[in-house]
Structures are given as structure tokens and as C-alpha cells.
Amino acid sequence: MVLLSLPCWLRSRLTDRFWRVQAVLKHARHFRGRKNRCFKLAIRSVQRAFVKTTKARRKKKSFMRELWITRIEAASLEHGLKYPAFIGNLLKCQVDLNRKMLADLAIYEPKTFKSLAALAQRRRQEGFLAALGDGKEPEGIFSRTVHHY
């Protein structure tokens, strides 16, 4: 006798439901309230948490950059320079420190930051003088560019 169709009383049953539930709950253990214990509440919170993590990873970069810029602005105002003047003149002097580094130097190396501010100020003044003069190569010492070829 050949069995042509599977009998309807044969059902497959889930055996690892406990571990599937625990895999979700382990991400919710530090939450507050019942959503750290009850699966139905936890799964919603955990999904939202994961989505927020993915989106925040992109926003973190712009947030950190804003923070660094605020700190550099505050530090350069202490030395009498505004942020656009500071950054623009540092770039014109071919100093390639990024904003993260400048913010760290402003916090942990105040003397170095003061010298960078003085450099930017001097380059700014030479730029003003060059704006008033002819269109030739600027005379200032700190305006001379370094050629690496």
C-alpha cells in the first residue's frame, strides 16, 4: 500500500520557542518596566531600539562634527578669533588638522591651540595686506605655501 498524501493528524510542532523568545528578551533586559520581561511588549521595544540604532549611527557623525565645531568656536573666541576666520586661515597655512583634533587640542593642549590661533591671525592679516596690494605672490612669511613635488 502506497501513502499518497500525508495524514492530517501529523503536525510539526515548534520545539525551540523558548530560545527564540530569549534571543529577543536578552536585548531588552536593561529596559524599564514590563517590557524587560514580557515577550509581547519586549519585541516591540526591541525592534524600535534596533531601528533607532541604525538611524543614529548616521546621525552621530554630523552630531559629533557640530559638537567639535562648537568647541573650536568657543576656544578660538577665547583667543579673539571667530571660527570661520580660524578654520579658513589654518587651511590656507596648509595645516590639515581636522575638527576632532582641533577640539581635542583645545581641551588638552591649550598652549598649542593658542599658537594655532596666533598662526591663523597672522595669516589673516597677511591676507588683508595682500588684498590691498597687487595681484602678485603675497609677501608675508606665513602665507608662503609649501610645495611637495
Partner: protein, 201 residues
Amino acid sequence: MMAAAACGRLLGAGRRRAAASLLWSTVRSQRSQSTSLQQGIIAKTSLSSPPWPEVKLPDPIEEAKYHAEVVQKVNEMIATGQYGRLFAVVHFASKQWKVTSEDLILMENKLPAECGDRIRLEKVLMVGADDFTLIGRPLLGKDLVRVEATVIEKTESWPKINMKFWKRHNYQKKKSKTTAPSHPTAFMAQSHRTPSQLTAQ
């Protein structure tokens, strides 16, 4: 240190006020009618002088002497080894790090180095001690600074989760990413040395 430049500015020669004999904007322009302006005292209007305050740079010869002095002092300090702890700003793994000796760095990259290998970090943007700083434009020479590091650990990263979810649309995707093993995750930067001396510019 370039803070010396600020002092140099203040110590410059006494200011001389020259009467602006021409409108400042006409110095740049090449108008044919510029010859018709008379030589004399210009009335102070909103356009008779530039919007920035007048700047007077210090005397270049004196300033050059001052710079040479500063460079010589720094050279002496380096030669006699009078610096304490040095810090360096290093460009590595497409990021900039402020590093001192016995410092740990964590990066999420693969390196073809094994654990315990000694690595030299070559792109140094700045080196500083307590009393002086060397600022590179943009990099310092390889014969000037030497920054070395040891690879301590190479592990997988923690599983970063990438999830998309739209509510009421039955749409969700979850992906968990651990950056593959054999990527160096920790360094220890050691032994800054500035063997050679600076030359005055």
C-alpha cells in the same frame, strides 16, 4: 612655538600712519580714469577704507632674527632632551589620533600585521611637548619624528545590528554584522623620538 609670533607682532617697529592718498579700492582696480584722482587727504566715508582694521606687520628683518632665535632654542631643547612627555597627532586608518606613549588605539580595520608586530606610524601631522610644538604643513618629515606602535589584539567586533522596520506594513529586515576576524583592534603607541634637528626657514 608659534605663540612667539604673536609676541613678535607686538614687539614690532612703531606704527607709522601714512595718509591714504588714493581710495583703497582703486589701488586694485584698473580703471582708466584713475589718473584723474587728486593727491590729497581723502574724506572718511564708508568706502574710503577697507572694512577690516588697518594691520601693520612687524619689520621682516627683526622678525626673521626673532624666528631664528626661537628655532635655535627649540633645537637646543630637542638636542639636550629637555622635553618630558611628547604627544603626536597621527593620521592613521583615515582618521586622526592624538597619541602619547603607552596609549591605546582601537580601530575597525584590517591590517596585514600579526599580534605583537611593531608598526611605524608615518603620517605625523604635529608633535608637541610642554614647551614647544612642531606643526607640520601638512605632514612632518619622516626623519624628524618616529612614532611606533605594537599590535596588541585582533578580535571580531561586537555584532552591529542593521534593522529596518515600517509599522503596519509587515516590513522588517534585520542584519547583524561582525567585522570579520583578523582585524587589528588595539595598538599601543610608544617611544616618540625626534632624532634630527629643525632648520630655520
